[in-house]
């Protein structure tokens, strides 16, 4: 069961943190194999940011994504650059307001969830920067790649102390949205 997940956007959106939390939920709380890798330039904010998580029930050889089964796009640049690398039938989450130019023809081959994620995060927690955790909630709710309890534990482990509750609120809002999105 090798599953590849791509998270992409720009620096500062929590792209890498979201990937770390997903990998941690799989590796530590689901006893699966997981590899998280990232690539970014020397700048810590504003540059293109990309992270990958490979999850499997057996040891993972090649650690990078070849054709992602799941992808998250938080920026136009990331969408334009990587959309066409995803597998046919992939589940894809798009930050609608930050990706104005889409490829409707290609999206027909995919299961696309496009929402104003930043706006929903802001409405839910008052903090737009919880958008990455909200997205993780939607992602896990829809794909069930790891259990909800596992991702909650991993969020608690990984977010700064004192922000656990606000992040869990964002995560659970994501679960709630996922329920409505399920076919």
């Amino acid at each position: 069961m090798r599953k590849e997940v791509l998270f992409s956007g720009f620096g500062g959106q929590g792209v890498i943190l979201a990937s770390v939390i997903l990998g941690r939920a799989a590796a530590v709380y689901e006893n699966l194999y997981a590899v998280q890798t990232q690539s970014y330039g020397p700048e810590s904010r504003g540059g293109a940011s990309r992270a990958e998580v490979v999850i499997s029930d057996e040891p993972i050889d090649y650690p990078k994504a070849i054709a992602p089964d799941y992808a998250v796009f938080f920026s136009q640049e990331a969408y334009s650059k990587y959309l066409h690398t995803v597998k046919e039938g992939a589940t894809v989450i798009v930050e609608k307001d930050l990706v104005p130019h889409r490829d409707p023809e290609f999206e027909k081959k995919l299961n696309v969830i496009a929402l104003p994620l930043t706006e929903i995060a802001e409405e839910t927690t008052g903090l737009s920067l919880t958008m990455n955790i909200l997205t993780l909630g939607i992602f896990v709710g829809v794909t069930e790649i790891v259990g909800r309890e596992s991702i909650e534990k991993a969020v608690r482990d990984a977010v700064p102390h004192g922000t656990e509750e606000i992040n869990l609120r964002a995560l659970r809002k994501g679960f709630e949205l996922a329920e409505k999105l399920k076919p």
Binding site: G23, A27, Q36, Q38, I66
Partner: protein
């Protein structure tokens, strides 16, 4: 002993973090370094953990100072480590030779990035293999280890300390930027689950007077601790068994350097480690080390699905090198491929080992991306 991280359970951590935790479990209590991408997280972890285990982590003025400090710490009886990347590793070469000549157990980590010079700070490469083996001047011998997963990075770091202590030698760990920042599940063992080796100390005054002798016939002299009662002379100049400079007698130099080579090469079967995958009936062999091995494992699976009898030899130690093992391999396969993230380094060692018994082809890739399995498959099937 209470550790500043959970033991006896799995965690999801970066290669850099795994090195720091393994070092502490191996008994390292002194770290000196200078920050550099992609090895800075090792320093960050050491700065956090060392005070909690009664150790010391210190930032030096540069990488020359860093390796000098760990050599000093080691002579004071403490297991010591530094970590860097290409530019810093270049600066360390002089003192790496000093550690070889003074037979000082130290661990030097180089998380390789694209070079030469400052190159590609955030991208992985394997361009420092020859430098790790031959970078310092003069006839020298040391040990170079090369992991491919975060778990292996953890385990080989413990092994690096054990080998350094056992053979009184510097040990280099060659990782890369991918492994440095990659997170994977790692089992962090309880201290009683791991073997930890400590250097031989002089058993008596006689042994202490000859810190560069060979009282046990294994080529490894017991190492006195500075400040523990013996007058010990340590120099990079050619020295006799007592440690005093003797620079004009050929036989003194021959004896010293001969023993430094012998203590490693005489135990090479114990030092060298490797793994094979589908190699027994292979007609095509792939020889790799480090992160690329993972692409090669996948490539072997893909080649087997296509009916190509491919197999992998993955080297966990790249120095000393088992040339004889490569020759035996070359005798029973049609061709050997060497994928590596440089313009051809391991390739030269493999070709020397193959000794013309099989064709050896380099699959070179530079620029900051690990070979994809398909890139290897395509080269093999043409």
């Amino acid at each position: 002993m209470k550790y500043p991280f959970p033991v006896g359970k799995s965690d999801f951590i970066q290669g850099d973090e795994a090195i720091a935790r393994a070092a502490i479990l191996a008994g390292c209590r002194f770290y000196a370094g200078y920050p550099i991408t992609p090895a800075s997280e090792i320093f960050e972890a050491m700065a956090l953990y060392m005070p909690l285990v009664d150790g010391v982590s210190i930032q030096m003025e540069d990488e020359i100072g860093s390796i000098a400090a760990i050599i000093g710490a080691s002579w004071a009886g403490t297991k010591a480590m530094t970590a860097t990347s290409g530019p810093g590793f270049s600066l360390m070469q002089e003192n790496l030779g000093y550690a070889v000549m003074t037979e000082t157990p130290i661990v030097v980590v180089n998380m390789m990035r694209g070079g030469p010079s400052t190159g590609q700070p955030t991208f992985p490469a394997q361009g420092d293999m020859m430098q790790a083996i031959w970078g310092t001047h003069g006839d020298h011998m040391l040990i170079v280890l090369s992991p491919s997963t975060v778990q292996e990075t953890f385990e080989l770091t413990i092994r690096a300390f054990n080998l350094a202590e056992k053979y009184r030698t510097p040990v280099v760990i060659l990782g890369d930027a991918e492994l440095a920042h990659m997170r994977e599940r790692v089992y962090i063992p309880n201290p009683d689950e791991i073997e930890v080796v400590y250097r031989k100390l002089p058993a008596n005054e006689e042994e202490a007077k000859l810190p560069f002798g060979d009282p046990h016939g294994d080529g490894v002299p017991p190492m006195p601790i500075f400040g523990k009662g013996y007058r010990t002379y340590v120099t990079g100049l050619t020295h006799d068994e007592s440690g005093h400079p003797r620079t004009v007698e050929p036989e003194v130099h021959q004896k010293l350097i001969g023993r430094i080579f012998r203590k490693i090469l005489g135990h090479k079967d114990e030092i060298i480690s490797y793994e094979t995958f589908e190699l027994d009936d292979a007609e095509i062999a792939i020889v790799t080390t480090g992160i690329v091995s993972r692409s090669a494992i996948r490539a072997v699976k893909m080649l087997r699905e296509r009916g190509v009898k491919a197999g992998l030899l993955k080297l966990n130690t790249i120095w000393p090198f088992d040339f004889g093992m490569i020759e035996e391999l070359a005798e029973r396969v049609r061709k050997i491929y060497v994928p590596e993230m440089n313009m051809g380094q391991l390739y030269h060692l493999v070709r020397e080992g193959a000794n013309g018994k099989a064709e050896v082809e380099l699959i070179s890739k530079i620029g900051g991306e690990v070979h994809t399995p398909m890139e290897i498959v395509k080269r093999v099937v043409g």
